[in-house]
Amino acid sequence: MTRHNVTQKRGGVAVFAAALLLTSSVSNAELKALDDEVLSGVSGQSGITLDLAAKASVSEVAYFDDGLGLALQGVKLNAAASPSDFANYRFELDVLADGALAIEFTSNNVGRFEIADMRFVSNPGEIPVAAAPSMGGLFLDFMLDGRTEIRGGGAGGPGTSGHTFDTEFVLTNGRLGYRTNGNEFFFDGMSFDVSALGTTLDVDPGGILHLRMPNFQAEFSVSAVRFSDNPANHGVSNDVVTGLPLPSYGSLWLNTDMNVDLQIQAGGASGVQGLTLNSSNQINRLDLAWGEDTDWSSSGYWVGALGAMGQISFQNLTVDVLADPDAGVDPLNDYGVGLAVAFDQLSFNLDVADVVLGETKTNIDAYVLNGATPVKSIGGMSTNFLFADGLFDGVARTNAILLQAGGNVAAGNQGLRLDTQLSLISPNNESNFVYIDDGNALMLSKLEGFADGDITLDVTRAGNISGTDFYDGLRVGFEQFAFGYQFEGARVAKDTGDNEDLKSRQLQAGQAIEGLSPFTMGLAGAPSLKGVLDGHVTLGPGGADGVEGITINADLSVSNGLMASYREEDGRGLWLSGLNYDVHLRDMMLDVTDEGLQIYQGESWSLLDVTDIRIGDEVTGASFGRLALESFEQGSTRTIKAGGAGVVCIGGAGTSQALCEGDGGRWEDRGTEGITISSVRFLQAENELEGKRNRLTWETGRAGEGGAAPVNGSGMQLVFDNYTTNDGDGINDIFGLQTDYHLDLAGVQVVKKSDGADSNGVVGSKGDIKVMNADGTYRYVSPAALTAQDIQDRPVGIAVRTRTQFKELDFDRVNLVHPTGGESTLLYGLKLQNFDVTTDISTTVLD
């Protein structure tokens, strides 16, 4: 059994549970005298009633592992209303007829448990230095009302060792908050309704503590996720100075039914002390949603993942307190001792029945209850991840996270730093992503990836500290965060409900799918991407529509990047090589409306600089030269909606099947699900002072062209400069550049292009139509013999319909630039007017 050094200063104890139990004896806790009536219950059948008033203050509770300690400092338990008030509880204890001990517990007021600082220490009882790095503070407000029954006998049944717990409780009036440097991010109006019947606790051979929860059911709700930048506020819903409600990100709701199995044993990954955990959990049901400006019924809208099932399990997850691996090696990147969490394997599978956008809580509740209420769904998703040691780019990768104190150095001494290493493997296609739309499925197959770098987490307020700009909100920072992912291609077929069937379907070359990466500024959805990420994304409260929502400010850069916009199975592709991407977002706001997820982009500017656009191999492939794209927009909007293109007429015109086919077109019904992204973009005129503009530069013939390090700026450049949108008058810009993008999975007409056998040996005549068999093989059928069922069985493909409109796209100039000859103007003006272009393109596997 692991030995833990225990530090106890004014009553500090080793573990939190023990601390709670002992607070009455070591601090200002108060036991109320039992009155005569209650005392009479002790000897009678009605049991014992205990009224407890607690006010505890503990300087430090520390956990030591092989000589290094994690200290919880400033631990308090009291009433939420005031630190000087007692938290009051009533416990009623009974012994039931079967010998079980029944405990009913009720809070008589809202209690608060808080930790002011979480630090790493070398010795028990060190006097805290206020400016020393800290992981920040936590607080929990709660009222509890519940009951637990404890019986002898664990998982083996009555008469065996161990115990069985039947527990039901509800936590109300809750707050759960994280505080750094005087700023708070917290769940307000939180409730947690739990039923965990038949929970057993055993000590297995080898001293393994074994917890089984075969019936864990819970509903979790948060009425408002709030932010405060006023240091005087602590655990309050309204600002103490203005009296106004603190700004909110919106509401959260989660509903789950799980089977939990957790084993804990002594000894970590390093030294002789620490913890090792193994767990296998079945998710029988999971629904989760985020809403804003909502009354939790018919007013306000939500996005959600509903009707999910799956599992999460991990093997040999170890917990140790360790020094930074950079200690003594790279002092500048040594952020001190941290809590090290590592694991041999973690698998996660989650099948979501419906992803809804812009639904009311009333409809979501009805859907969860009956599974039949129509909802605005883009379809289903299946996410499958296997994290374990592996190779990526020929480098050994592992899974280990070191939680360190301090966060971003400039933000203040409180914050969280995660020195992160992740390895996502897929030797037998265990990791993949599946999207299901109207019974058709798309698998991004054999997903692999890695991450290696630092993530920082701080709650920050707007201002400049030590030359770094901060914004209101929860700041997620990236420091030298190397990352990469790739998938082998897409497998598209009719959905059988079993992902294993998809794995044996034909592989289609991977291509960037815009609809699957709406939140990542284009940095996902491509078949392969790697690079080094630096910068931050700060999530602030408040939106553009109503009071609640999310406001995003971000400054991100990807350096030394490599992205495939098209990639074949053997790794050859169309590569953006030597990619450097610098993007800035100001006051981008997310809201949920009845249409879906609405994104208002206050101001954004970016530079995408690609050293080489390569064909074939990512390193040695021939290059088209350099491409640099600068973008500058203000007031652009984007709405992500449920539902795709619906019914369409390809190659003709007509609002019905008869009219369409009469015009020579092909009528297609792409169902009710799918994804639509509508955007309105306003391209701004150059701002020389701030270095913002719209410009496209293509450069070839550079010094060292074709080699590993061509010199940018030394070749011939073709420059499309300072292009903007306007309403055709060169003055106003209300219409902008409008795009409706519809993504569906649908049957595709594949026509055989030559007589004879194709690359898979399947024989057909030129002009025949490809028809899929149930087992994933296919045949060719002549158009004259095509049946209605054959049409249903055409190969499934990715159907993208895009409509782009603008009144005027105005290029200020098109220049040719020579490194020694200078700049000459090729075109003194280029104006594109009155465009309304629709493209409808379906892609599927080639033979």
Partner: protein
Amino acid sequence: MRYCTRFAIALAVLSWSVYVNAEMERISDNALSEVTGQSGVYLTGEVSINENGGPLDNSYFGDCASAGKICGARIAAQTQQDGGWFVLDNLKGTIAFEGLTLQLRNISSGFGGDGALFNRDVIEIGMPSSLRFKDFEYTLATSSNARPGEAGFQQVDLMTVELGGEVTLEGNLLVFPTP
């Protein structure tokens, strides 16, 4: 970024004909059988420009039912400072295609010996077996102003091209990167 990248790639594609050695070739069945791997993609669909007119509604542009108005798109380019404008006007119509293929191909032989010297991958665009033009048309013109309706606007239409019907294309377009 994705929109921008697509736009950039589109422009690059438009420019290939000028800056890149593209070549059409007919591949025999025998040669086809030597193409290793079929992991490319098969595309089918349509591109429609101003099928029902564009977003501008003024004295010059309108919907396609408005008599005396243009409902197509317009591209105007000025090659001399303060000079006139070359115009591609009233661009509209639909192109539908079936069987456009896209994949990479290694070129290591042929092409009069240049293939062995090149010995790299190229983009192979397989021509669609069916290409259908519907009411496709444009007008070449010269104009005094980029924007119709501006003071002193004058335009001379040089020629109008109209395309309709089905075209069968065979062979592949190979795109060679030569920066």
